[in-house]
Structure formats: structure tokens, C-alpha cells
């Protein structure tokens, strides 16, 4: 890419309100949106607030909405965008704005505290250790890739459009719950909460969360739908209920 100028429409404001302001930045080969934001911050708007840390797509700090889609600023290359039009950079819509591109994501951490913690079975060995096979842990390891960028929470219309923060924990915490629930050592039962207060039934499988995940976690197919199926097992499937009468103790 030859060095050129591009316009960035960046949302400026705070919890009281705000508007987009146009800035022009010099862009060159290899730049990402975060580079442009830093350049604007250094040369034109020293008070522009943005959260960032690793610039490598691993810390999950620089989440924003670029041209209307939730993305990490550090992983969005400028040569993938149409620079003939202004590039819009807005804060995540699902969370209250603090200032400019920084949002208050503390709701997520409060939700996390409500989820029942890991509760392993009794140790397999006298030294307090367990036996686990890699094959049993493969499924869970996909979920451990999550960097908690909250882009999935931001794009989920149950939170974004319907603001059901009290009834629904969001894709990130279905992934978290699935990682615990499917763990071969875990013995805790989280299905009653998942069905009732955490709103697994509110997900209508739009797969938007999967689409925006920078770690390519198959959130819907591998976490949410399997949890929904476990809820069906427990609460909606009469044959399974009958089956449990003869095999009351489940595996795991």
C-alpha cells in the first residue's frame, strides 16, 4: 500500500452523549486501525481515550465497532477496509460508554462471579492428583482460547438490542459455563441456573457471536447448542427422564 490519507470517524463523548468526529491520518502498509487511532491520539486528539494493551489480538482490550461490526482494533488491517470512505470507529454498543472508545464492561465480571465454580471429583491418587485423557479435554480446550474481548457479548442482540442484562449471561459466559460443565473432572450441576436465571433459552442461534470471535471459537455450535441440549435432556425430554429413572447416577 502506497502511503495515503484516510478519514476516520471516531466517536467522541461520554455517558452523557457524544458524536463522531472526523480525523485524517497518514496510512501505510501493514497498519491496523489501532495504529491509526494511536496516530490521531498523538498528533490531533491527545485526549482521545482508547483501551489497548498487547496489539497482538491476545489481551482483548481494544474491542470496538469498526464500520459497524464488533472487531479488535489491533487485528483489523487497513488494507481490508475501503479507505475511499471514512472508517467509523465506535465504542461497543452493548456496554455503557465511559469516554470515547472506552466502555464499562464491569457487568461481565459481575456475571462471571454468579457462575458456580469448578468442583472436581475426589482425587484419583493418594497424592491428590487426577487422571485425565487428552481426548476428554480437547473439547474444553477450545473454550479456553477465549480472551474476554466481549465482542460476542457486544454483537449478541439479546444484550445489544434488548438489554436483557438481568435475565441473560451472554455468549461469553455460555462458553465459560460449557468449559466447566463439560470438564471431565467437574461434578457441579449448573443446568438449573442455565435454564432459569442465566437464560440459555433466550439465545436464538443467530451465530453472530461465532462470526465476530477473534479466536474463532465455535461458540454457538460447540458451547451454546450443547448446553441447550443438556437442558433438553434434563427438562424437556420424557424419554430421557424415563431413562434416568433406571440410571439415576450420571457420568462425570
Amino acid at each position: 500500500m502506497v502511503q495515503q490519507q484516510a478519514t476516520f470517524s471516531i466517536w467522541r463523548g461520554d455517558s452523557a452523549g457524544g458524536k463522531t468526529v472526523d480525523y485524517t491520518a497518514e496510512v501505510s502498509e501493514g497498519m491496523v486501525v489501532l495504529d491509526a487511532v494511536h496516530q490521531i491520539q498523538a498528533t490531533q486528539a491527545n485526549d482521545l481515550a482508547c483501551r489497548w494493551n498487547c496489539k497482538a489480538g491476545k489481551c482483548g482490550s481494544c474491542s470496538a465497532e469498526i464500520n459497524g461490526m464488533p472487531r479488535l482494533m489491533c487485528m483489523t488491517r487497513l488494507n481490508d477496509l475501503d479507505l475511499t470512505q471514512p472508517v467509523t470507529v465506535e465504542p461497543m454498543r452493548a456496554f455503557p460508554p465511559v469516554r470515547d472508545l472506552v466502555t464499562d464492561v464491569s457487568w461481565n465480571f459481575r456475571v462471571k462471579k454468579k457462575i458456580k465454580k469448578f468442583k472436581p471429583r475426589k482425587p484419583d491418587n493418594p497424592d491428590g492428583s487426577w487422571h485425565m485423557l487428552q481426548g476428554d479435554i480437547d473439547r474444553v480446550q477450545e473454550f479456553r482460547k477465549c480472551i474476554e474481548c466481549f465482542l460476542c457479548q457486544d454483537v449478541c442482540h439479546v444484550l445489544r438490542e434488548h438489554q436483557m442484562y438481568e435475565e441473560f449471561i451472554g455468549p461469553r459466559y455460555f462458553v465459560y459455563t460449557a468449559a466447566l460443565e463439560m470438564h471431565p473432572l467437574d461434578t457441579e450441576d449448573r443446568l438449573p441456573e442455565l435454564k432459569q436465571s442465566q437464560g440459555a433459552g433466550l439465545c436464538n442461534i443467530t451465530k453472530c457471536c461465532t462470526k465476530v470471535c477473534p479466536e474463532n471459537i465455535h461458540i454457538t455450535d460447540n458451547a451454546i447448542i450443547p448446553l441447550k441440549e443438556r437442558i433438553v435432556d434434563r427438562y424437556y425430554d420424557p424419554l430421557k427422564k424415563l431413562f434416568r429413572m433406571f440410571r439415576p447416577k450420571s457420568e462425570g
Binding site: 459497524g68 438490542e161 443467530t206 447448542i225
Partner: protein, 260 residues
Amino acid sequence: MIRRSLGQTSRRDVWWVWPVLVFLGLSTFIVYSTWAAFQGRDYHFGPYLSPFYSPELWGDSPHSWFGPKPGWWPAWAPFSPALLILWAPGGFRLTCYYYRGAYYKAFWADPPSCAVGEPRKSYWGESSLPLILQNVHRYFFYLAAIFLVLLAHDVWKAMWFTDPGSGKAHFGIGVGTIVLAVNVCLLGSYSLGCHSLRHLIGGSRDQLSKAPLCAKAYQCVGCFNRRHMMWAWFSLFSVGFADLYVRLCSKGIWHDWRIF
């Protein structure tokens, strides 16, 4: 936060194209399959039976299991063998996890696409009536599995052509045989990638290593499941085309070529 209205978004891409294509694709299939189901004729040709009419429980063709239209069928109600059975595969697709996500977007704009404004304030999801009934999906899968076996049997029967002179059946392959066989393969690839099946066959276990057969089956279903959307569309097209092929052959519009 100010609620966005229907279609309001900062997205620059043509986000509306996919929902429109889904709307057109599913609408075309629903209109055609409903029309074909109500016809009650031209659904068989030689050894071929349209998948919309299989199994033919009651009907006038040689494929019928229990003979012609039953006497208890109300005189005022239109009769077609397809009406007796199409609810099962239809229910399987209606409650399928992939189609659910697709038609919520395309038909109900809930949401129209990711990060795009919606028309309604209220939202119940699948946690209350009527959408809580989507949880019946696994039972429709059981029925769909039976249909797969029956359709595979139809392919076998589609390999035996009766000689008009002698009345004897001879083994052969026609283009129709291949159309029906490809249809069963695509329907199988779609059905065997079902999320409910993946759960039932092994996904419900936390220690798959304790059940090696389940682990293998889980992997196999997972292979189909990873392309569930693709198989859903391919099989939808193929089942519609298989009916169209048999129908046009039956009407004499298309000629069924015998390969051998």
C-alpha cells in the same frame, strides 16, 4: 442507549443480501413443496417415487403400503399421500438449529443481521411458548432417521425396472436412480450432522474415552456437523429437484435416460 430501528446500522457491507437470499430460497421451497404435496398425482414414474410422497402409506400408485385412499378420510378434505407424511421431515427442518437461526433473521428480522437494528422491542427467545417447542427437535430427528432408511430403500427399488413385455423386473440404473441416490446421500449428510444427534451420540458425556464407540461416532457426526449449513441447503435443493424430476418424467415432459 437509544434503540435502533429496523435496519439501522453502521455496517458498510451488503448485510441484507444473505437474509434476502435465505428468504427467497426458503420461500421458493415452501411454495413448491406445498404445491407438489397438494397435487396428489404425477409423483411416481416406473420404479421411481418422489421423496415428497415416500413412504406412500395410502395412495393409488404401486408404491402404496396399505392400498388406495382410506374410507375414513373426510370427504371434504383434500387427499394426497404427501400430506400424511411431509409433516415429519418438515418438522425436522423447522426445528433444526441451523434453520432456526436462518429464518429468525430472514423471516422475523430478529435480528435482520448481526449488529443491525430490529423492528420490535419485546423479545422472548426460545424460553417460552411458542418457540420453547423447538426443543422437540431430537424427536423429529428420530423420525427423519426412519425416513432416511425408507428413502434408501426407494433407491434400491429404483434399480429394478419392469419389462413391459414379460412383466419381469430387471436390474438397471437410470438418471432418476442417480437423482434419488444423490438425494439420499445429501439428506443423510444433513441429518447425520444434526446437533441433537451429536449430543445424543456422545456430546452429553464428559468422558468420551470411557465409551470409545461413542467417541468415534461423535467424531463422525462432528464431521458432518461442521458443514451443517451447506448440507442443509444442498439437501433442500436435492429433495425438491428429485420431486421435480419424477414429476416431469411422469408428465412426459422429461425423458428418463437408462444408463444400463
